[in-house]
Each structure stands twice: as C-alpha cells, then as structure tokens.
C-alpha cells in the first residue's frame, strides 16, 4: 500500500547541470551511487562522498577513491556521519546537488539536515536501498527509535509500546509512533515483522 506522506523513490540520476555533487550513502546504497557517478566522465572529480557503515572506510571508500571522487569520507554510523555532513552542508556552495542512497533512516536524516540549510526536501535526489526498517518518532516523548522492523515497538526512550502509523515526516525523517495500548493497558495485537 502506498503511503501518501512517504516519499516515492526512484533510481539516482546525475544532475549534469550541477557544478558540485555531494553523495551520501550507506553500504546498501554504495553501488547505486557508483552506478550514477559512472554515467559521466567528469562528475566524480567534482564529488564529495560520505559513505556510512562499519568498515566502510576500508571497503566502499576505496572504491569511490579509485573512481576518482575528489573527497571521500567514511563514518561507522549514521549518528557519527551527521556531524561531518553538517560541516559539508555548511560549506557547500550554490550549484551543488545532494544525493542520498540507503535505508530510509539515512535518507530521512540527510533530508532533514539539508532542510536546515534551506535545501528543499524534494530537491535532494533519493534512492532507497536495503532494508525497509523504519525510523520512528514517539509522538509522546519525541524520542526516535531506530531500525524498527515490527508494527509495534517499545519506545527506546519512554518505554511506551508504540504502533507505527503509516505517516512520515520529511522534516523529522521519521514515521509516527503512537501508543498501542492506550485504550486497554497491556493489551497489544500480535507483534509482526512487517518492515524488512
């Protein structure tokens, strides 16, 4: 079922009019990013890559370097990557295009960060790769629970069992989680793994 507030993803396409490219990807999205960069002879030389995941510094980073990308950085986790990305966005100039490929949590956080620099969410080119696990914000305490694969999940912050609504905020880069047993405490439907 399509979710009206959830972005529709397609394959990354290089913006040949841009002077500079910023590519954010995780290990799932690295191949998609490389495929895109290979569609041009000149793009890689004007590209900053931030690749994320355990061991990405040894594996995927080398592949981007050998393609000729002029700045290649690696971070072990999304959380760690956001500090670097913040600086990359802060120093970006007009005529730069942002691309992101990976799980939805990475896409959401990249778009949300870019938005703080005045970049419209729709103008960030996005390709979903890998797991469909969700990033869920608890509507009660506002804490975010990562890597959610089930329709019911316990909030990692306040402990309320949350039902994951099919409602996605690009600003927050997250789905909404709402108490699953508010009407009858402790009564929950069977927990099913639905976002894999």
């Amino acid at each position: 079922m399509s979710i009206k507030s959830r972005p529709r993803y397609s394959e990354l396409e290089l913006d040949i009019k841009s002077k500079r490219h910023i590519v954010v990807c995780d290990k799932n999205g690295a191949a998609a990013a490389q495929r895109m960069l290979r569609t041009s002879n000149v793009a890689a030389a004007n590209t900053t890559v931030l690749v994320i995941g355990p061991g990405a510094d040894k594996e995927e980073a080398g592949a981007f370097e050998s393609m000729g990308c002029d700045v290649v950085m690696a971070s072990p986790t999304i959380e760690a990557a956001m500090f670097r990305l913040d600086q990359v966005f802060a120093k970006a100039t007009m005529g730069t295009r942002i691309y992101v490929a990976g799980i939805e949590g990475l896409i959401g956080q990249t778009v949300a960060l870019a938005q703080r620099y005045g970049v419209k969410p729709m103008s960030v080119r996005q390709q979903h790769c890998g797991s469909l696990k969700r990033r869920v914000q608890c509507v009660h305490c506002k804490g975010v629970t990562e890597d959610v694969t089930t329709q019911i999940v316990t909030c990692a912050h306040c402990g309320v069992p949350l039902f994951v609504r099919d409602h996605f905020s690009r600003r927050l880069g997250a789905f909404m989680g709402v108490s699953a047993d508010a009407e009858e405490a402790g009564v929950l439907p069977p927990i099913e793994e639905v976002f894999r």
């Binding site: 509507v139 409602h167 905020s169 690009r170 709402v178 108490s179 508010a182 009407e183 009858e184």
Partner: protein, 346 residues
C-alpha cells in the same frame, strides 16, 4: 449581544455543558442521513442570526474556559504552537483578521483602535489591554500568531503557498481530533492528510487543493468535519493519547447519553493580504448524545449516519469501540420518519 461566559472544564472533572441556547445553535454537520467524504466547501458568508455562521469568527459561551484549557495545554507542551521562520508576516495578517473580526462582531467584549501601526487591543473577557506596533514582534508578549490564537476559539494553521502546493508551516493546535502539529509541521497538503482513508482515492484532496490555491482575498470558504469524543475533552491529541485513550473504553449503555459527544469541526479558510498565505481555522463544537436527541431530526439522522458509516471511516475516527453502544442508544430516538433536507432543526 452580551455573552455570559461559563466557567467549566474540558478535562479531569469535565464540567463542560451546553446551555439550551448553545444546543439550539450547535452546528449539526449532516445534511442527509448518510455520510461520505466529499469536497463540501461553501462560501463562508454571514448566515442566520444567532447561528455559528452569523459572524466570520464565532465566539460563544465557552470562550473563556476554552482559552484557559488552551493555556494549560501550552504550559505542558509548547510544541503545540510552532511557526517556521518565514511565517511571521502571515502571523501578523492573522492578528489583523482576528482582531478586526472579533471587535466588529462583539464590540461589548473586544476593542481595537488603530492609528497607523500603533494598535490598541482590549479583550475584556480575558482581562487583556495591550498597545503594540503592528508588524513588530518584539512589542508583543508572544509571536503574533501565538498572541492572537491564545485569545480566539479554534485551532489555526497558516498555510504557505508555493511550488503548486499548500504547506502547513505554522499552527496553534490544541483542540485537535488526533493529529499532531509538531509531527506535521512543514508538510504539504497531501502529506498532511496522508492518514485519512478513502478520500485520496476519491480525489478529494486534489480537488480541494486546486480550489484552495485559487482562494481570493475577501472570499473565505468553509466546510464541516466531524468525529465523536468519549468525553468533552478538547485536547484529544496523539501527544496525550496514552493518557486519554482509556476513556474510549468507558462508554456504557448507562453513561453514553452523558459522556459521548458528537464533535464537529467548522473549518474555514481565508486568503491573507500581505503574505498570500491561507488561514485554516478548525473550530471544535461538542454536543452530548442528550443534546443531540433533544432535537428530534438530529437524533433520527445521527442514528442513521452512525449505523451506516463506512467501517474504514469508523476505524480512522476511533469510533469502533463505542459505535454500537451509541447506535443502540440513538435507535430509541429514530421512529423511522423521513428527515428534511439540510442541517437545521425542523
């Protein structure tokens, strides 16, 4: 007309009640015996004297207590009122719209004096007397939208128009039927309405958006929406759902007439002059099942609407748990007679 403002609560001991006059002017939303989503938009023009349509902004006997409830919500959760930075001008547009409307419609209660940008606003029911410079936010105790919507019944959203869409970039939302301003802030018209079932497929939002993008200054429009509330709680927010959700399970055949309320939203939209933004106001009216059946036509009709409502709508509106109890109660007031067209009592 001088209004007598009631002292009542919308939480804890729930002392909210409608006076007989308030029941008579209750905006019953069903103009037929069945209900389905549609683009039911009509011009927001002055209606019958004494009705909720008499003035562009309706102030009623619950005004003071509703504003007190809003202040309590904001005290516990300031995220209910948010403004993206580019919406400040729209906030000032809203100050003008509401102050002018309220003072013209209810001169006994509200006074607005304008001398260029030097404005003087007196709100007698809330004991407010402020002088400020129009357009200069530092001369008000809050941002412009928050300042005036702490003094006006109804939730208010400010929609920015750009890129062929309307974006909900500011809002004061404390009397909502289970949606979150904090979560939805910055969404476009389709994203914002994503959780609503059936209506997308019917093309309701596409047509509504097309219509609203053409909204002209001085030609506001309105529509109704409705749901039910298991108490007269104004703040049925997702934020606090884990605290109030249990009330839905407390409706019984014995208490349904008192506890269960029809919750009607009178939604109105205005184009704003300086910012070109659109105001979306969502004014909530509550009536208990006893209030409803005191008007025979409404009792008959609500019985038929609730009995036949589409299951997906019942689920989305949170009616599932008590719908049958409500239908059983209302059936006693439905003698099978025909009902007249339109919303007004016979």
């Amino acid at each position: 007309m001088v209004l007598a403002f009631k002292r009542e609560t919308f939480r804890d001991d729930y002392t909210f009640r409608n006076s007989p006059e308030a029941v008579r002017r209750f905006p019953f939303p069903f103009d037929a015996d069945t209900y389905m989503y549609s683009v039911n938009i009509e011009p927001h023009v002055a209606g019958r004297k004494g009705s909720v349509f008499e003035h562009p902004i309706d102030i009623d006997e619950h005004y003071v207590s509703e504003m007190r409830d809003r202040a309590l919500v904001l005290k516990n959760d300031p995220l209910r009122c948010q403004t993206l930075p580019h919406m400040d001008l729209a906030g000032w547009d809203l100050v003008e719209l509401l102050m002018v409307s309220m003072s013209e419609a209810y001169p006994e209660h509200f006074l607005l004096e304008r001398n260029g940008n030097d404005w003087h606003w007196v709100n007698r029911p809330l004991g407010i007397d402020d002088r400020f410079t129009f357009g200069v936010t530092s001369t008000l105790p809050y941002g412009p939208m928050e300042y005036i919507t702490r003094q006006c019944q109804g939730d208010f959203c400010l929609l920015d128009q750009r890129d062929g869409n309307l974006w909900v970039d500011a809002g004061m939302v404390t009397t909502q039927a289970d949606w979150s301003m904090d979560f939805d802030l910055g969404m476009n018209f389709f994203e914002w309405h994503a959780p609503v079932p059936l209506a997308h497929e019917k093309g309701v939002f596409e047509r509504a958006l097309k219509f609203l993008m053409q909204l002209r200054q001085g030609h506001p429009v309105r529509r109704f929406n409705w749901t039910m509330s298991s108490t007269p709680r104004l703040d049925t927010s997702p934020e606090n759902y884990h605290k109030w959700g249990y009330e839905r399970a407390l409706i019984t055949p014995e208490n349904v007439s008192e506890r269960l309320h029809l919750r009607v939203e009178l939604q109105a939209l205005w184009r704003l002059p300086r910012s070109n933004a659109v105001v979306f106001s969502i004014r909530c009216y509550l009536a208990s099942m006893n209030d409803i059946v005191s008007v025979p036509k409404w009792g008959r009709r609500l019985h038929r609407v609730l009995r036949d409502v589409h299951p997906a709508l019942a689920e989305y509106k949170g009616l599932t748990r008590y719908r049958q109890t409500a239908v059983d109660f209302l059936s006693k007031y439905d003698d099978g007679q025909e009902t007249s067209p339109g919303i007004w009592p016979d």
